[in-house]
């Protein structure tokens, strides 16, 4: 079985006579904006508005990834991650990877210009758009260039956020989420 690959040919098309940029097979119009402008918008806008902006951004990434996979529900773990990470990279949001901690799904993004508080709704909405599942996200850590986001149910994500806020290391929080005593 050949390793899945991401085909980046014609992924982004610049129509200079018309002054437009299009991405994906559907020809969705996109903008090329400075990341500092988006960061300033996220800081100045209300939290709900910033999260709404992030979720809209993530949904577009998820849809383009599903368009590459065909049947996303039948896609293997490697195939899904490859196409989703390709679309995240085309958007300029960093390098996406998946970590499996027991039964817990953790998405790791490195080198993202967005803050961690914005990357969590981006990833969550991308997965919802790709799989059709309702997911919740909990920011586990943001150290340097690496952001870890737990994908779980609403209740589980809320408990993990509470444990981390009380000082529990995120690794121990994942253990407690599995029913352990840690």
């Amino acid at each position: 079985m050949a390793a899945p690959s991401f085909d980046s040919a014609q992924a982004v098309r610049f129509d200079l006579p018309r002054g437009s940029v299009r991405a994906g097979s559907g020809g969705e119009t996109v903008l090329v904006v400075p990341s500092a402008a988006l960061a300033e918008l996220a800081r100045s806008a209300p939290a709900a508005a910033a999260e709404a902006f992030a979720r809209a951004l993530g949904s577009a990434i998820g849809r383009r990834a599903v368009a590459r996979m065909g049947d996303a529900r039948a896609a293997s773990l490697e195939e899904f991650v490859t196409q989703l990470a390709g679309e995240v990279a085309l958007a300029g949001l960093g390098v996406l990877a998946i970590e499996r901690w027991g039964r817990a799904l953790v998405v790791v993004v490195e080198g993202s210009p967005l803050a961690g508080s914005l990357m969590a709704p981006v990833v969550g909405s991308a997965l919802e758009a790709a799989t059709g599942r309702k997911v919740a996200c909990a920011l586990l850590s943001r150290d340097g260039e690496t952001t870890r986001i737990l994908i779980a149910s609403d209740g589980a994500a809320a408990r993990v956020r509470g444990w981390i806020a009380s000082g529990t290391p995120w690794g121990d929080a994942l253990g407690r989420l599995h029913g352990g005593n840690r």
């Binding site: 996303a72 529900r73 039948a74 896609a75 293997s76 773990l77 195939e79 899904f80 991650v81 998946i98 499996r100 027991g102 039964r103 817990a104 799904l105 997965l127 799989t131 599942r133 997911v135 737990l150 994908i151 779980a152 149910s153 209740g155 589980a156 408990r159 989420l177 599995h178």
Partner: protein, 237 residues
Amino acid sequence: MISKLEGLLARVRTRASEGHDLLHTMPVPAYDPAASLGAPAPPSAKAALADSALEPEITVDFEVQETVIDLSEPFDDGPVARPLDSRERIVASEASAVGGPRPGGDELLDDELAGPPSSSRRVIADEPEEQLSEMAFGAADPPLPRHTPPPESGRLPAAPEADLDADVTGVRHTAPTVPPGGDAMLAPDIAPRSLTPQVTRAFLGASQGVASVLGQAQSFAPKTFVELLDASLALGS
């Protein structure tokens, strides 16, 4: 009366001179209690010399009373209890010093003949016979020292200075032990031996219940991404 005293003085001089000569020339004879006590005790030599030098004319009017004690008869009450005059004490001390019987004398004599104990640190003197033979014929061999002589103290003499050659070092080269003939020519003691390990193993007895299995190992291996997503969504529910 004077003539009688002069005769007595002459007797004293004669006996004093005889006693002085006997003390210097003759060995001490065996003690005869009867004879000693029967004869008058000689005066001391010092008194005799003083008398002979000065020769005073002394007028003494007394009579000499001599007491004779027969020592051959045994005493019933042990030692002499009554006071003795000076001559009796002298005779009695001579008797005890020269040859008289001593209490427990036989046992003491046996101890002296037995020699010193083996643990004695005193130097054992040579036997009188050996001394006499050495005086007569000379010592045949020098006697061995009875004790280890103490070590000599003081400075040690310096070693003679060697004539060192600057070109000569302490490195010494040996002749090749392996002849050019090959291994067959090797001596048995220098032939290469096959190395064998010295194994040390721990003795661990059979035991039960060392490990206990609390649950099955994690066997979750999702085949699709959605399967993993569903498992993660099911956590904590």
